[in-house]
């Protein structure tokens, strides 16, 4: 497991909607703040890179003092009924929910998962992002969750931390 890792979900408006220090290193306040500063600064790079690559997973987009930033770019395309990307998520029994799904996904575009890490475990990070993505989609499905607002679910937090222990 990585000694230092900071995971943040940034909404399309560049507001952090979820923050977690998931490293095993001793938690120091100034270090945690530095992590956020690094991630915040990396947004500039991520923003530019997004236009040049079609990849969803951008590994090591930025670094500062041995700390590497990796990003999962949730480019969920404009939802259409026949969109393959959406189909997997509409396997829910309630028809009534479909509407909220579409709304949610529309609002969910351009959310970024950003991970600051000091390990080079690329596969682990990739899996981590994949699993968190699914968690995030589940959160979006919650009709009570206002897309773009802070994720305060403790369940989500627990799951993310468990995933971090597993993959990072």
């Amino acid at each position: 497991m990585a000694t230092t890792a900071c995971f943040i979900i940034v909404s399309r408006n560049d507001i952090p909607i979820y923050e977690a220090e998931v490293g095993v290193a001793a938690k120091r306040e100034d270090a945690a703040q530095l992590h956020q500063f690094i991630l915040h600064a990396a947004l500039d790079v991520v923003q530019d890179l997004a236009w040049t690559t079609s990849a969803m997973y951008l590994k090591s987009v930025d670094r500062f003092n041995e700390l590497v930033v990796s990003v999962k770019w949730n480019k969920i395309k404009e939802p259409r009924v026949d969109n393959d990307q959406i189909k997997p998520y509409i396997h829910i029994p309630l028809y009534a929910f479909c509407f909220s799904v579409i709304i949610s996904l529309t609002c969910g575009i351009h959310t970024r998962f950003m991970l600051l890490h000091d390990s080079r475990n690329d596969d682990g990070i990739k899996s981590f992002f994949q699993e968190v993505h699914e968690l995030y989609i589940k959160t979006l499905l919650n009709p009570l969750y206002l897309p773009g607002s802070r994720i305060t679910s403790s369940h989500f937090d627990t799951k993310v931390r468990a995933l971090a222990r597993k993959y990072l």
Binding site: N13, D14, D44, T52
Partner: protein
């Protein structure tokens, strides 16, 4: 490391600019700014100052297109240990600046300059520029010559021209010095050292190597000088040689330096033309440069040339710094940033970060730039001195934009305007949501807090209290939910400490606490309503009153509660109020020294108030002010003086914050966490100020408290009206509104009208007569609560002159004053019950019959209401024809009441009255006193009024039950009769007045009409219906039993009540009993007459009879035709004088149903018994 390195930097000549003598700093900057434009001197311009002493070593110098480049370093730079390696690091010239007015002695100046120049051993040319010399100095200086150059006072353009010339001269001198140096170096060689070399121990092998290297290094340095001299071609030649030698000797460091020089020469040669080929070439060569610098690093050495590698990286990054190459530049800069930790010198790291931040900034990566700026600030903060703290503060101030924590003062008005769009349309749906979201874009609270905290820290260290205050305010206001109570306290202390260092009255653009939002704009208090005046109508107030049965009428203008649509009208000179809600969500007591409305339109005087807020509390307060001139008023927010600094709090910002909280975008709603209920979004209505209007204010004379009245109390209240405005009142009209309007008996609107026009300051007092209403049973408990609701109020509409002088076209509106008459009605005397009593006082037998009540008078109106005083009851009359109304009253209050019952007589019935002394038409009875918690009975004698005929129509109700149905006609007549009955009862009741007094000035009337009416109705038959038979006794005068005893005639006779009223004992007394049939049927009956003495013993029959008689006294069978009367005569002989009572009674045979009903007989077999009233007879002895 040096700041602002660039590839072309190798070709600039560093010139130290040093102040000589005393120069005020602004002046020095001014002089320095004169020099700055002269950074490039074309070679063509210096030819006049240039003399070729020897053959120039710069063979390929481009005299027509080339130039010398200068870099002016104010205050000079300390000599770099690396200046042999790169000649542009040397300070090659020194320019002294003298401000002559402050340095009078030129000798001193020259000496000072000379000594200053000694610290720049590498300097080749020294010049001292003296500005603004006086005449003597000018004279002195012109003689002196040498390095001193005097600039006579002139305008700026002239000065610039002179300076340009002087710099050309400096440039020429430098060029000549370079030539000299190069010639010397080429001939004799030179020793060039770097800190790298000095560290190396020289072995014999290395000495040989060093000799070879020396050549290469000399070539490289000559190349440097060629570059400085503006000859890139020459430089390139020398660099090529140097590169060759460097590669051979493995002198990587110098090789890289030469390569760097060659790139610079290449760029200078191409003179700014950039194409991709050149770019590739530069990129290739610089990558090589970086590589060789890296190669030259030797970890064993203490001094590392890493700075050169980093500088080279930065130079390349700066060269490539374009949006299209962002990726490459980011890569370079990331590498450079990685190099920072290998830097030993903190200032090197500082410069590195500064440069990286600058490059990111010019690349458009604001967040990256901010990140490195913050790193710079942290390095400054580590230095722990004031100047560094100031630098840190300034650097952090630059990052605030990227971190979205700008001070409001740094945000231009325009951006505030565009940001504020959201609040204008509160229901714009999704678009609105988006704009709200955009307001909170990039709100990364963790890092924002850190940045603000660092700004606060640096400002405190730098001794800038205002910045510290602003940072603490922003921190506290925006992030209080994330700060512990202790931290909040700390910030509050920081705010107070900062304000102590600020002059009082300092303003800051950033508001701290509390949060302020508009609570409501109270519409005009009812005392100040403005009513539109229709000039065409005289009675413009009609229809404007809020009266009528409907709470809401579709015709009334808008709902007063709906403030959104409303336009507020304020009046010049009249105070207004606005309710705002303050919230203190922090854990300390907040003391707001003053708060008042902020009005930018300038026509409003706001009154400050001070307030303190408990931790986590909110409060609604009233802010007031006075409009001062006509025009629109906008209230964007409040001015708050809190924590020692004056700030403006905008309502719009709080509204946006609340919206953001509702969207989950910000952390907390400051009002909700204080427990304040959610308010509807109150927008500031458009407010206009109109010219002054008259203003009436009212008060009740004797205090504005509730007027306490007992039920039925009548009292005059004086109401004082004063014109508190500045305009006279020319029109006024009083009307009533509200509940219980009938309790206002009179009001004197004439008094008010007679005082018009009411000048400003004038007063008028007019009376209003009130009568307290009855307290209902349900009302009794809730009197106090609902007194406002049940009180009537006076509406006074008034207006000033129709036209104002300011705007002759506009009709000035009228106003409405509502004077609520606060009446508190207490329960007073209460009426328990009323009942009719049939008391019998025997009448005296006289020669005439007692007057029968208008038996023959067929008019209904006349047969009532002659009432005697109780005390003066006619002894001859007895209770004949009288009934007594008993009123039972109780006094539940704690005061004493006195009751005065009076009955008003009708004037036209006076003639019937027996009394001689009845002058007044109203008779009072002695006052009855009712103590507290007692009850009393009051007797009211009523004239026994009867209908003349016992008719079945009155009994139809009863007869119907007996099966004798009245037809349609009878029920019709019954109705009429009932109506007549009711009318006469009403008539009677309305004449009875029960007045009471209590204390000194409480008096009133008891409203008992309904109760009396009820009482009368229960015994209506007794009251109204005549008995079937009427009996009367009278004396027959001297046996001349006349037939003229017709009651009609009798009643016409003047009465002499006392005459012949008594009889003598032992004499035959002829008497007659008159029996009248009041029915329409023939009545057959048995008449009995008895006489009783005082003891009630029958004195006619029996053994001890004391009365002898002649004639028949018992069992007299008589038949009386309908509505007729018969007389039965008899004589009595009284043996004993005394009082006797005569009684007549009859048993009616074959009674019909009417009689039975009247007698309330239960069975048909029951005999119907009629009894006349007793008659009194006084028998006198004849002694």
């Amino acid at each position: 490391m040096e700041p602002e390195v660039s590839i072309e930097g190798s070709s600039t000549i560093q010139i130290a600019v040093i102040p000589i003598g005393q120069i005020p700093p602004p002046l020095l900057r001014d002089y320095y700014s004169l020099l700055l434009p002269l950074h490039t001197i074309p070679l063509s311009a210096i030819s006049s100052f240039y003399t070729e002493h020897q053959k120039s070593p710069f063979a390929h110098q481009p005299w027509d297109s080339g130039s010398l480049r200068f870099k002016f370093v104010l205050g000079g730079a300390t000599p770099s240990p690396w200046e042999d390696f790169q000649s542009h690091r040397k300070t090659l010239a020194v320019v002294g600046i003298v401000h002559c007015p402050s340095s009078l002695d030129l000798n001193d100046v020259v000496d000072q300059f000379a000594s200053s120049c000694k610290s720049y051993p590498s300097s080749l040319v020294d010049r001292c520029f003296a500005f603004y010399p006086n005449d003597s100095q000018l004279e002195d200086g012109s003689k002196r010559g040498g390095n001193l150059r005097l600039f006579p006072p002139a305008d700026r353009a002239t000065l610039e021209f002179h300076l340009n010339t002087m710099m050309q001269e400096v440039a020429a001198s430098l060029l000549m010095e370079f030539e000299k140096w190069v010639l010397q170096a080429e001939s004799s060689g030179t020793i060039l050292k770097t800190p790298l070399d000095s560290q190396a121990s020289l072995s014999s092998e290395e000495v040989i190597k060093a000799k070879k290297r020396r050549l290469g290094r000399a070539q490289k340095t000559i190349g440097d000088y060629c570059l400085l001299a503006g000859s890139p071609v020459d430089a390139n030649l020398h660099y090529s040689t140097a590169l060759e030698l460097g590669r051979l000797t493995g002198d990587y460091f110098w090789y890289a330096g030469a390569l760097e020089g060659s790139v610079c020469a290449l760029l200078i040669d191409r003179m700014g033309q950039k194409d991709s080929v050149l770019e590739d070439e530069v990129r290739y060569r610089y990558n090589s440069v970086i590589l060789h610098y890296k190669k030259s690093q030797d970890n064993t050495q203490r001094v590392s040339p890493i700075t050169f590698e980093l500088e080279a990286t930065l130079k390349l990054a700066r060269f490539l710094c374009r949006r299209e190459l962002a990726k490459e530049v980011v890569e370079l800069l990331t590498t450079a940033a990685d190099g920072a930790k290998s830097l030993i010198d903190a200032s090197d790291r500082l410069i590195l970060y500064i440069e990286i931040a600058r490059l990111y900034g010019s690349l458009g990566y604001q967040r990256k730039a901010a990140f490195f700026s913050r790193q710079v600030a942290q390095l400054y903060l580590q230095q722990d001195n004031r100047l560094a703290a100031i630098s840190a503060m300034q650097v952090l101030a630059m990052t605030t934009k990227a971190y979205h924590v700008q001070s409001r003062s740094s945000v231009s008005d325009h951006s505030i305007h565009t940001k504020g769009i959201g609040s204008d349309k509160p229901d714009g749906g999704k678009i609105y949501h988006q704009s709200v979201v955009s307001l909170f874009e990039s709100q990364w609270s963790t890092i924002q807090m850190v940045v603000l905290r660092e700004i606060l820290l640096s400002a405190v260290r730098a001794g800038d209290p205002l910045t510290a205050w602003s940072a603490a305010a922003r921190l506290l206001r925006s992030y209080y939910p994330l700060i512990t109570p202790a931290g909040q306290n700390g910030l509050a202390n920081a705010l107070s400490n900062s304000s102590e260092r600020l002059p009082p009255g300092t303003r800051c653009a950033d508001p701290a606490l509390p949060f302020i939002r508009v609570h409501s704009f109270p519409v005009h208090p009812t005392q100040m309503d403005i009513v539109k005046r229709n000039p065409a109508r005289e009675d413009w107030w009609v229809g404007s009153a809020p009266s009528g049965p409907f709470i809401y009428t579709p015709f009334s203008k808008g709902d007063p509660n709906n403030i959104k649509k409303q336009e507020l009208v304020w009046i010049v000179g009249e105070p207004i109020q606005v309710l705002v809600e303050l919230a203190n969500p922090c854990g300390f007591d907040l003391r707001v020294d003053s708060i008042y409305l902020s009005v930018h339109s300038g026509n409003f005087d706001a009154f400050p108030v001070s307030i303190s807020l408990l931790p986590n509390s909110s409060k609604v307060i009233t802010l007031s002010g006075i409009p001062t001139s006509v025009g629109p008023v906008t209230i964007p927010g409040c001015i708050v003086h809190c924590f020692g600094v004056i700030t403006e709090h905008l309502f719009k910002e709080v509204d946006n914050l609340l919206l953001g909280a509702a969207q989950g975008l910000v952390l907390s709603d400051p009002f909700r966490c204080c427990g304040s209920p959610k308010l509807k979004n109150v927008s500031v209505p458009s407010i206009s100020v109109v010219p002054p209007l008259p203003l009436l204010i009212s008060h009740v004379v004797g205090g504005d408290g509730a007027i306490i009245l007992y039920e039925g109390e009548i009292r005059d209240v004086w109401i004082n009206l004063a014109n508190a405005g500045t305009v006279p009142i020319e029109q006024a009209h009083i009307s009533l509104s509200g509940k219980n309007q009938d309790s206002v008996i009179t009001y004197s609107s004439e008094t008010l009208k007679s005082h018009l026009p009411l000048k400003p300051g004038a007063e008028v007092t007019f009376p209003v007569t009130l009568r307290a209403w009855q307290v209902g049973v349900a009302d009794a408990d809730s009197t106090r609560h609902s007194k406002d609701a049940s009180c009537p109020s006076l509406l006074i509409h008034y207006a000033g002159p129709l036209k104002t002088s300011e705007d002759p076209n506009a009709v000035s509106p009228g106003r409405r004053l509502v004077v609520p008459l606060q009446i508190c009605v207490l329960q007073g005397l209460s009426f328990v019950k009323a009942q009719l009593l049939s008391m019998e006082f025997p009448a005296h037998v006289s020669e005439n019959l007692p007057k029968l009540d208008d038996v023959n008078n067929s008019s209904n109106g006349g047969h009532v209401n002659s009432v005697d005083r109780l005390v003066k009851i006619d002894p001859f009359r007895g209770s004949w024809g009288l009934r007594f109304l008993e009123l039972e009253l109780s006094n539940p209050t704690d005061v004493v009441f006195e009751i005065n019952v009076s009955v008003k007589l009708e004037n036209n019935s006076n003639e019937d009255n027996h009394l001689a002394d009845r002058d007044s038409t109203e008779y009072g009875y002695p006052k009855t006193r009712i103590d507290r918690d007692c009850s009393a009975r009051v007797l009211v004698p009523l004239e026994h009024f009867k209908l003349p005929v016992l008719d079945d129509s009155f009994l139809s109700k009863d007869t119907q039950t007996d099966g004798i149905g009245g037809g349609r006609n009878s029920s019709f007549s019954e109705k009429i009769s009932k109506a007549e009955l009711n009318a006469c009862i009403k008539n009677l009741v309305s004449r009875i007045k029960v007045q009471w007094h209590s204390g000194r000035n409480s008096s009133g009337e008891l409203n008992i009409k309904d109760a009396i009416q009820a009482a009368l109705l229960t015994s209506v038959m007794d009251v109204l219906l005549p008995d079937p038979l009427t009996f009367g006794f009278k004396l027959v005068k001297d046996g001349s039993d006349s037939d003229n005893i017709d009651p009609v005639k009798e009643s016409d006779l003047p009465e002499s009540p006392a005459s012949k009223s008594s009889v003598l004992a032992h004499e035959m007394t002829p008497m007659v009993v008159v029996v009248r049939n009041n029915t329409k049927d023939m009545i057959k009956m048995n008449l009995n007459i008895t006489c009783r003495d005082v003891a009630g013993e029958n004195c006619v029959d029996g053994t001890k009879s004391t009365v002898l008689w002649t004639g028949v006294l018992s069992e007299v069978t008589i038949e009386i035709p309908p509505l007729q009367q018969i007389k039965h005569s008899f004589c009595l002989h009284f043996l004993v004088p005394g009082e006797y009572t005569l009684l007549a009674a009859a048993v009616i045979d074959d009674a019909n149903d009417i009689l039975r009903a009247r007698a309330r007989a239960t069975s048909s077999a029951e005999p119907i018994f009629c009894r006349g009233p007793p008659y009194h007879l006084r028998v006198l002895g004849n002694t």
